[in-house]
Symmetry: C2
Subunit: 393 residues, 2 copies
């Protein structure tokens, strides 16, 4: 039983886990209209809506009308046509069987192995994850740092990537990367030699370990770690899937860019991290090296903190993980958080202003603000931090 009838069965059954598999077939990870619809209605109700929309577009539009501004509704209704073209491919049982055949398992937001950090993607969280490897995706991703950079890395960049990734692994932090040539590979390789395994996020299905030249490396990653993708088994790693994939890497507690030219794809991951208000670290290099140009730009623009070693990366990532302070009794995670909170002006402050006011280094300030954000005490919009007044304190 496949195709339209399978989709109808899933919709009727109300089985959200199966409906999420259906949606990972119907829509790509970068499809914001689908993400909105599933987030708004729930996976199986969204599927039911789609099936109804095929029969009666006007009634479908009317049903969504109360939920969002007309523009959003129009987008979803228009996208329905696109999704419906793939309705015949919906085959949750088949997807599961194909996954099983390659030793992959399904992890959805309904499962215990779902990483908490992905929830920060909100409506852009993936529908389903296909996971290979004997690591626990949740345990790994929830204490992880993304180490990313150019495929066209220099020997210097690969050396530093290995040094930082090795240091993260030694400190009990998982390295998340994309399994690509250059910086990604150096990071995964270094993590293999450390006590904490890594996570490789694929743009295509986890049956195809991509690039082919990294088949052995990615197989080794699965030993303790995981290879994961949001697209079903058999799917090709298209360019747009790489861009969507990057948001999953950026969900890590912090993103460290080791080498990136000014137009490197690694900067796409940085943009995702910044959108998630995750701290970004960048490794400097010779100013004569184009491979470090993007890193220097990020630091100059105040978007990334200059880091030279794993310890400095963890200063940024720290407060998100289990290492975070136990608290000092006043509701603040640390003295730095208290100072940073006090330094936020009523009308909002930029990081550098908070740093000056609190007497902290930029990196410390970043870490403290992240802690405040996690504690719901502060929030950034367009780089401006504001206090969130709560009943506590």
């Amino acid at each position: 039983m496949t195709g339209r009838s399978a989709a109808v069965d899933v919709a009727l059954s109300g089985d959200d886990r199966q409906a999420l598999i259906a949606w990972s077939v119907l829509a790509e990870g970068y499809d914001e209209a689908a993400a909105w619809l599933v987030d708004e209605l729930g996976a199986s109700a969204a599927l039911a809506w789609l099936i109804d929309a095929a029969k009666d577009p006007v009634a479908a539009t009317v049903r969504l009308a109360p939920l969002a501004p007309p523009k959003t509704i129009d987008k979803a209704v228009a996208a329905a046509e696109r999704w419906l073209r793939r309705l015949g491919e919906v085959d949750p049982a088949g997807e599961m069987a194909r996954a099983h055949a390659v030793g992959a398992r399904l992890v959805t937001r309904l499962d215990a192995e779902w990483p908490t950090v992905l929830d920060d993607l909100e409506s852009r969280a993936p529908y389903a994850l296909w996971v290979r490897g004997d690591g626990d995706l949740c345990l790994l991703m929830d204490r992880a740092v993304a180490v990313v950079g150019s495929r066209a890395a220099t020997a210097y960049g690969e050396h530093v990537a290995a040094d930082i990734a090795g240091g993260l692994s030694d400190a009990g932090w998982c390295v998340v990367s994309g399994g690509a040539y250059g910086i990604d590979a150096a990071a995964h390789r270094a993590a293999l030699t450390g006590p904490t395994p890594s996570v490789a996020v694929m743009a295509g299905g986890v049956d195809r370990l991509y690039p082919a030249g990294h088949h052995d490396l990615l197989t080794q990653v699965m030993d303790g770690g995981v290879v994961v993708s949001e697209v079903p088994i058999g799917y090709a790693p298209h360019r747009s899937r790489f861009l969507a994939r990057n948001r999953l890497i950026a969900a890590a507690a912090a993103t460290c860019v080791v080498e990136a030219a000014t137009r490197s794809g690694a900067l796409n991951t940085v943009n995702h991290a910044l959108a998630l208000a995750r701290p970004v670290a960048a490794v400097p290099g010779p100013v004569t090296s184009v491979a470090s140009g993007g890193c220097h730009r990020l630091i100059r623009d105040g978007l990334a903190v200059l880091v030279t070693q794993a310890r400095e990366v963890l200063e940024l990532a720290g407060p998100i993980g289990p290492d975070a302070d136990e608290g000092s009794g006043d509701g603040f995670g640390s003295a730095a958080e208290r100072a940073a909170f006090d330094a936020i002006a009523r009308r909002g402050s930029r990081v550098e202003d908070v740093a000056r006011g609190a007497g902290l280094a930029i990196a410390e300030t970043f870490a403290a603000l992240m802690g405040l954000e996690l504690a719901g005490k502060a929030r950034a919009t367009d780089g401006v931090w504001r206090r969130r007044e709560t009943t506590q304190n």
Copy 2:
């Protein structure tokens, strides 16, 4: 006529220019008590006070009492003993003759060639400068960027120093440095090939071109540029004089550190620049290079801006120099700025005086003065505004 009798003659004559020579013999550039005394009383009156203090310390203390808190007075009175030990060395005519013999000239704060930027050192400005070379010290220093770094520079550091110094010279900016091995030398050498000469600030007398290995380089610097020192001819470049010398380098519009280990002496220059609220630029390098460790630290701590080329250094230095004004044809941003500029008295004016003279409201005057300051045309010290004269406009 030398020694005590010369000092007495200078004090009696009230010749401040000669008294400043005397003070540059009596006290070192890092002697804050002397700096305070000369600033407070004026050079010749301070000398007269010192001569009196030798005879009647109690009366000398009483005379200073109204001028400052007891702690400051005590320091000056205690230091008098130290200064008096050198009173026999005071010999302004001899200093002038020795300078003349090596082709050096005297420039004091009373002379037209005195760089305006040194006034920002306030009481820590040098008493006298001994200058060799056919450049105009004022024109050079008032449109200058300090390029500093380790003596133990790498080939990379020297390459970047040359690149940045060459770019500054090409843009019409003078490079100020210390003439030392490594980064300093690379910067001076690059400036020699550009249209704008450089300034080398010595820790010892300008008769001794230090280090000896740079005799030829420093001789070349004098061709269009200058070699300058605050200590008289014949004085040795002691370590403490290097530290005091660094504040003169840091008086440039901005300081760019090219390579510096975490404990490099170049960071002392940075501290002076920060104390003067001058922007600091730092060039990154490989994180594997200890020679860049200090630069990375400065950037991480938010004390320096990461720069990769001369243009980025000039973005920091820019507003102080003549590049700043877009101008209305006469080099002024507005009629109010023109009027405010004209209303600033030669010896400096308070805002209310400028307002009266210019026929502007206080608020308009403030705005105009801020514009003039940004354009590098005026500058305030302790509420007193002074013009900054340049040949252009």
